[in-house]
Assembly symmetry: D2
Homo-oligomer: 384 residues x 4
């Protein structure tokens, strides 16, 4: 371990994603011992000194900052990890790129395509390593879907459908805005479920099934007004509480997507299914170690959906972990992405999804929101 | 039994629905002994004398006809059951109404709203009993959903979603048209999955959640040409192989619907889910005796989706059958509808869904197809 | 139909099994039209004239009797169907055999091996057709298990396990005995869950996996006293409320069985699983149209338990019914057995399980009860 | 963090359990920041210097030893963690106790009751902290079962059943013995599935449902001979490949247990179910974040098994982790146990299961093996 090259991390933020990313950095050495680089938790940054000091102590960062510009200015930081609300991604990322830092940015890339394009331009100009934390690609069952799709096993694809169902904003008493609830404030988040949840579904979908060409969408804001935590006043809610859209993929298949925070009984039910000529696959996050697979080539009398428990050493990432039959959790998708990013440093290859990939997802999100507001189909301009 | 009043049935058709309806008539006496009327299988009708004679013998019809007009003209027929391809529903139903017969018509009501409106006008003018076989309303688990929704338990409704997934037309070798495959011929069927599958979803949805006001749809024909069994030639396929749409309900909730015959691995997977403020419900046809129910009022640490095995005597229709834990099947939904129709004769009440109800479903279907072809939202004109 | 040979049925009983058997007879003509014999519901018999008259009218029997000896004495009865409490099986069956009647007897065959042996002797002497209604063999998914096992696919068998879990006798307020609750009265039933539930599990097990050689069992009576409905007094409960046993099969595999009426939440959960060297199978009655199948020969990364929806026309019995994806229910297992019995009349073959087969099940049941009371292993003396 | 008291760990072993325990120590600081003690990975020990050096580097141990006696002799070790094969537990633990070290011992405690009793005597004499890694108690869903049972919600308990099904030793080509396969060598392991798998089931069972009083068991060795990796010769296999037993609990309920490594299709399927008068609970390791719960007090028409996704902050341990709907894995059960052990240091309370608790499990295991070999019921002598 002592011969490893160091990659010094400066992480901005102290919320849920700051925790999942930090945990990922702390574990890759144990589980991916062959990596040539090792992370050093150099500094973490947030505006509240009390809170970021506590965070740094708990998680073992060597130092902390209260101004992200100071963090970026430090010479002892190689990579900046952006875990802040969406409204700050562009400014921080562009500054970090200009400072020559590698960037690991939490999803969604940006609030808008315009912001995202500027971010892509900045990293292109700077030539810095970059990745966006669309972590679900690295759930082993989802990675296995990718392998099966790429094998050609499915044949022609007819359908792709995904939804992401939650229920945590149903109460009208829930306020909007502020540190904990910025996801309900459009100015900070950019959008509601479209950027928060559908962006995940779209990233996975285009990775698995290619570009989305045009979309027809509908959004709804069920609770029209909520107290804003910053003003203390009842204000109009500007985010989309729910969003559904259908679309065409470039390969001729049909897509159907839905996200909502008003589906009582579902906590984080990200579900996807792909139907091909010869086989189908489906998966959901509430049962994340299982993959459902239907193979029409099986003998007809014993043909059925297979429930594959993805815990064997010949399945993606699983040789890193325990023994067949024992499962891993949500956090492991981040560990896998961190490991893949570190691996990518050795070979000078990009670590997908890059900022460019994430910008394509942003284009779909924006087309979806425009389609909903105009009640018309929209082309996405996606390059995939 | 011998004191019961007779209802003399004349059934037109000899396919799958002729069998499910005939089976229903033959069983209601055993399982609904309190009914005042009993069915008499007076006559069955199809063009092929050999085949209809065999059908009549197998199923116990007293006689057969080879011309539906002859059947309608008979004085010893009280009710006409229409189990023929969609293209013939209007003509037969209108003639039967004019002859003063009660009518039980297989779904969908018609190919078009125009046809359906003429059928409704005819039965209104004649004042005859009528019903349309949207059988899934009478699956006990689905009837139980209706009871729970009507109790107000769900509170404000946010989402309704349904799909109907099949995979039987994926092979390009499958021809279109003819006796067995008229569902692939738009001239006979009116449409593809929209009238065949989505019509079921729409009927249940409006029954449970009220009227659909406007729709935005997309259709696709994956296999563009197939041999036509009548001409023997390769011809353009005119039906929709797949159809998805989103919509608004009059109560402010959002709807999402999908049907396809290209979802590999699904045979007849009709799935529906409704999300309300306080509770959610979901059901699917492949597991038709179970109802999934989530009640947010349960204590939080033990809150979860309940899998309700709908086989107890206090659940809809189940006191008619066996013992708790023992299931019933697809055919029972038809038996229940037949029993409800016979019961409705006693009280002079309509037996829903009536022709009028089914016309509203037709309006949604037609708006869906128009939306898809025009790539624009359409109002449905539904009166619910 | 009019050219069919008649088989005139005399059925004794008017409870649940009288209904399932009668329903079976009434439907085989519609769904198995090729049968050379057709049932005629000649007479039904029970002690209460009011009730049996009503039953006969509801179900369409031509006549009724109030004394089973009178029924057996009738010349116009070809086959006697015994649906009475267990304590009467032996006397009725022996008399029926002596009268030269075919016999269809509800399970279990008898209360004891001694009774069962006399019944077997009687039918052997009389040379009459016979069968016992262990209906679960004819659930299509279970029949499919038999086909897969017989194909040799599983290789060497290691484990067979089955349980039958109910919860309907948990309340101490429930009385014992009388017409409705004779299953709680050992004098009438012979035993509790052993004869009622485990007998089903044992019949299926030996059919699928061969003879059981020796058993070690434990029984329990949780509620020690209940009001007896005949005496009106609190009396000791003599039945086994629960019974578990493990055993060896002749093929060297291990068996594990459990039945109870005290498993809160389970209505009629008959579950079985068989583990072989190359494949495993499992099934349960609450989801009776699905079969779970694991094939170790599948490619390792996509290997998993398959959920086979047994509704296709190439799966056992299913070409008789509707379309792929649409399920059948509990009652169909009886219809299939009735059809198989009628078919067996054409070829002069036995219709398994015969009285002889059912006697072997009785031997296991008796060994189980003896093992439990003696707290020692018992050999079964099964000939299989 | 820097003000925390140190607990200096010396871990013996370098296999799977060495990894799960080490991972646990490394994570409790991040997720249980309030703990007063923090682990210091002082030394790790195994016979192969090359391998233990590599292990120490990968996992961050400060030093390594190749002789466990040297490790125990070190003054800078506070607690010894025993992750070696079963045959060494007693000797190491007794020496560690005599050296005044705290002991965390991997399960099962010992090969025999005699060994285990000496271990208990030693820790009692030394008065040292001790725990045994029966990790499944700390799966949140299992801990939640304990809370529900302790609340009295279930009422009188009737049934407890558990099994642990694997399939990894089916091939006769698999050798026995040696470093990787000592679990197949009775001299090292003590027993086969009884100590390896049933011990887990028994520990959980007595924790949830109280003491087991007497048992009746059956074992089997399906593959009689295997090459031994140490001798290179074909030798008799002495372990139990499969073991089933039924038993009584002190509370009057019935128990049914099964473990095997020959259940094709199951990797690590630990399943448990408890049936009470008013409610039932079940859980399995392949779906470890879900708990199934049936509450008979629910309204009858909507009563059903609830599938509780145990990921909310008011459920055991889950406030430590991510957000509702996102799961944790196998390794977290060890993290929870490590955290509870460290917490127990603060209050001077025992950390269950202690050596004494684990000895009671050992008594049941031994009674099971004796029952199987003698084909007779055995009393367990458990004190619970």
């Amino acid at each position: 371990m002592h011969n490893k090259k160091e990659l010094r991390i400066g992480l901005i933020g102290r919320g849920l994603m700051a925790r999942t990313h930090t945990n990922a950095y702390k574990r890759i050495g144990d589980f991916f011992p062959e990596l040539e680089y090792r992370p050093v938790l150099k500094a973490v940054c947030a505006r509240s000194e009390d809170k970021i000091k506590e965070f740094a102590e708990q998680w073992g960062y060597e130092s902390y900052e209260t101004d992200w510009k100071a963090l970026i200015a430090r010479d002892d930081i190689d990579a900046v990890d952006i875990c802040t609300p969406n409204s700050t991604h562009a400014e921080i990322a562009i500054a970090a790129a200009e400072a020559g830092k590698m960037i690991l940015c939490e999803k969604p890339l940006s609030r808008t395509v315009e912001e995202g394009q500027r971010m892509v331009d900045a990293i292109n100009k700077a030539g810095v390593k970059n990745t966006v934390w669309y972590n679900y690609r690295r759930v082993p069952a989802v990675t296995l879907i990718k392998q099966i799709v790429d094998s050609g096993k499915l044949g022609r694809i007819f359908h792709y459908r995904a939804n992401f169902l939650q229920d945590w904003t149903i109460s009208p008493e829930l306020p909007q805005g502020g540190e904990a609830l910025w996801r309900l404030d459009a100015a900070t988040a950019g959008s509601g479920v479209t950027g928060d949840l559908l962006a995940h579904c779209i990233d996975t979908a285009m990775w698995l099934n290619g570009g989305i060409t045009d979309v027809s969408a509908m959004t709804e804001t069920f609770i029209k007004e909520r107290v804003h935590q910053e003003s203390g006043k009842v204000q109009k809610v500007n985010i989309d509480d729910a969003c559904v859209f259908h679309c065409h993929f470039a390969n001729g298949s049909l897509g159907l997507f839905e996200a909502t925070r008003y589906a009582r009984g579902h906590k984080a039910l990200y579900t996807l299914e792909i139907n091909g000529e010869h086989a189908s696959l489906r998966w959901d996050l509430h049962d994340m170690n299982h993959l459902e697979y239907f193979d029409h080539d099986d003998d007809s009398v014993v043909r059925g959906w297979r429930s594959i428990l993805v815990t064997d050493s010949d399945q993606p990432y699983m040789k890193r972990w325990w023994i067949p039959g024992t499962s891993i959790g949500y956090e492991h998708s981040f560990i896998h992405q961190a490991a893949d990013f570190f691996k990518s440093l050795e070979g000078n290859e990009p670590c997908a999804p890059t900022f460019k990939d994430a910008l394509e997802t942003q284009k779909v999100c924006e087309a979806v929101l425009e389609s909903a507001s105009s009640r018309a189909w929209k082309d996405t301009q996606v390059e995939w």
